[in-house]
């Protein structure tokens, strides 16, 4: 600038302030450069007015359950979302549900440029929380409580409403913190996020939290040791399966379509060429002298292919058993197989019943081209004096059994993953104000995964 930049307004570089507690004289560090409203003395638990140069005492509290030690000590710095934050405050809160007191911890984080963030921890489950800049839209009140809330285009489901008590505080807070003060807390979830409203002295504050794993917190703040193990499923904990389940089903559907296309392709390509169709007569008397016979020679042309042998016999409460040999006249190569055709039916106390079929089909894979015949050795129920039976041979028929196996091989993991996702959602919602009543409830809860 032509005239030379005017000197900067001369305000000194803000520094962390070191003061003494007016009650017990212990050293107090103000780390937030004046952003804090209250600061709590670490040694005598006096809650002091951080805006007052003399740190007026606002409240004195006795830690009912003794000293609560923050897992991340005050003054620790860590990197969250690429920004350095310092832990400046800590509070333990509690809520009573059906006579049981549940405790959780909240940490106040500070950066002089980015301001305040929070971390919360409940049984090893962490959340990275910031105050909402945009107003969430809460659906019309239904039966006294809102069931969903909309925030930045996403729908959050009501999880629970509770009264949160502050029972232990340490360090600095950007609001007037008091021990024993109750706030109405309402949580709406859209894993991995949680949208919370907190009503304190008629002022409502909305915040948005994102689930963090203990090890992420430990990494961010370079804490020694390992984080405490997370217990149970937390309200906005991302399901380990959810994101994958939809993917698995998409993959499954894609593969199923692919299989169907493949089957259709083979079905269309298969020639299903009949090469033999004969009806023979079995007779008990004859088969004693001449147990086996051979059919006419038929030709298999083209590439090595499947050969289907179909048998039909009008048996009724009898059986017939055929020992087949498919023999290559040129090379003598033979495929032996036995087929039974049996059909039984009758009536009993449960009504009519039947078992077996009058038809049978078997496929011999990869039979090379050449001249073939069948050698057939029939056997039958001793009670059966004689019966006609038909033998049909077709070349190049499609085989689908393998597709069924592939289908199942894909279906099983998809089903298992869905079940895991389902039980996870069940555990999540059973802790809420809306425990799952039936499958439909749950399906709609877990249905909107990304």
């Amino acid at each position: 600038m032509s005239t030379g930049a005017p000197p900067l307004s001369g305000t000194p570089k803000p520094q962390a302030k070191a003061l003494n507690c007016p009650k017990c004289g212990a050293a107090i560090t103000l780390r937030s450069f004046g952003q804090a409203e209250t600061v709590v003395c670490g040694s005598c638990h006096a809650i002091l007015d951080a805006q007052d140069p003399n740190l007026a005492i606002l409240q004195q509290f006795e830690a009912a359950t003794g000293e609560v030690k923050p897992q991340i000590p005050l003054g620790t710095r860590g990197k969250l979302r690429g920004t350095d934050y310092e832990v400046i405050g800590f509070q333990r809160r509690s809520t009573k549900v059906e006579g049981i007191t549940y405790y959780w911890q909240e940490y106040v984080l500070f950066n002089p440029y980015k301001g305040i963030r929070y971390l919360s921890e409940y049984h090893g489950h962490w959340n990275d929380i910031s105050v909402c800049k945009t107003l969430p839209a809460v659906d019309s009140v239904l039966g006294g409580s809102s069931l969903t809330a909309n925030y930045l285009g996403e729908t959050y489901k009501h999880f629970q409403s509770a009264e949160a008590n502050t029972d232990f505080v340490l360090g600095e807070f950007p609001w007037q913190v008091r021990v024993g003060e109750l706030a109405e807390v309402t949580d709406f979830v859209h894993p991995p996020r949680v949208l919370s409203s907190e009503k304190l002295r008629n002022e409502v504050t909305w915040s948005i939290g994102e689930y963090m794993y203990g090890r992420e917190v430990w990494d961010a703040f370079k804490l020694p040791g390992v984080p405490p193990e997370a217990m149970g499923v937390y309200e906005n904990q991302p399901s380990p399966a959810t994101t994958k389940v939809s993917g698995v089903w998409v993959a499954f559907a894609a593969f199923a379509v692919f299989l169907l296309a493949l089957m259709a392709g083979f079905e269309m390509r298969a020639k299903k060429e009949p090469v033999l169709h004969e009806t023979y007569q079995y007779s008990r008397a004859e088969s004693k002298s001449e147990p086996s016979f051979v059919t006419d020679v038929f030709e298999l042309t083209g590439h090595p292919s499947t050969v289907e042998v179909k048998t039909y016999a009008p048996v009724s409460n009898h059986w017939i058993y055929l020992n087949y040999a498919l023999i290559n006249q040129d090379t003598g190569q033979a495929w032996d197989f036995g087929r039974e055709v049996s059909y039984y039916s009758g009536y009993d106390s449960d009504g009519s019943w039947s078992e077996g079929k009058q038809n049978d089909a078997v496929v011999v894979p990869r039979v090379p081209p050449g001249h073939y015949y069948l050698r057939i050795e029939p056997e039958a129920d001793p009670a059966l004096p004689g019966i006609p039976y038909t033998v049909e041979v077709n070349r190049d028929v499609p085989v689908f059994g393998i597709y069924g196996i592939a289908f199942l091989a894909l279906l099983v993991p998809a089903v298992i993953m869905s079940l895991r996702a389902y039980t996870f959602e069940w555990s999540r919602w059973s802790e809420s104000d809306h425990p799952p009543m039936n499958v439909a409830n749950l399906a709609s809860s877990s249905g909107d995964d990304e």
Binding site: P12, A16, N111, L135
Partner: protein
């Protein structure tokens, strides 16, 4: 930049107006409040040293809003029962000016809006909704405040005010509005919340122990 230059009638120091429409400035040296008249500067008052505050911004901080560059040329420091906040007067590179408010590191950029009829303060209550520029705004908080000090250039005279009332309104899409009841005629400011990182601020203050 060509800026009108004048000398402080109190101490004789050079006074620079970086924004041609500035009406008032504060002498960097003697803290006199200077109001521009047709011919020269008139000292209308004196400000006390501003109390130490925690804003990372300062006069001369530069930044970007959308595709426009801006520079901070002045500010008003307000106080209310929960603390204080700064309204930074910023000059955009198209010659217009806007306000960048910084309340405990929550930033919002707004401009005064020539609006239709505005409600009187007595008519406004929390939760009430208003529509301006096809946007529905909900009154979130009514803040009685008083001005704690001024610095640099301002688009209006602001040296004789004490108590003011602001009505803040929010939308469900990150928009923001303030009704300023400092004058008999309310003034509407429309804007939006902005992310610190998106402002790409340069020439910020430094804090001891923070890089």
């Amino acid at each position: 930049m060509t800026q009108p230059i004048a000398n402080c009638p109190n101490c004789g120091a050079k006074t620079v107006f970086r924004w041609s429409s500035s009406v008032q400035t504060v002498c960097q040296f003697c803290k006199s409040i200077l109001v521009r008249t047709d011919v020269d500067l008139k000292k209308v008052g004196q400000v006390a040293e501003l109390p130490p505050d925690n804003s990372p911004l300062q006069v001369n901080t530069e930044g970007r809003y959308g595709n426009q560059a801006f520079v901070v040329v002045g500010r008003i420091l307000y106080e209310y029962d929960q603390g204080g906040w700064n309204e930074w007067h910023v000059m955009m590179n198209d010659g217009t000016s806007a306000w960048l408010s910084d309340a405990q590191s929550e930033y919002a950029l707004s401009r005064s809006s020539k609006s239709q009829s505005l409600p009187t303060l007595a008519m406004v209550h929390v939760g009430q909704q208003f529509s301006w520029s096809n946007q529905r705004y909900t009154v979130s908080v009514i803040t009685p405040a008083h001005y704690r000090g001024v610095e640099g250039e301002l688009p209006f005279q602001y040296w004789d005010k004490t108590d003011v009332t602001f009505v803040d309104l929010r939308t469900e899409s990150g928009k923001f509005a303030t009704l300023d009841y400092s004058d008999p005629e309310p003034v509407l400011y429309l804007g939006e919340f902005v992310e610190f990182d998106d402002l790409k601020l340069k020439n910020l203050r430094s804090f001891e122990g923070w890089a």
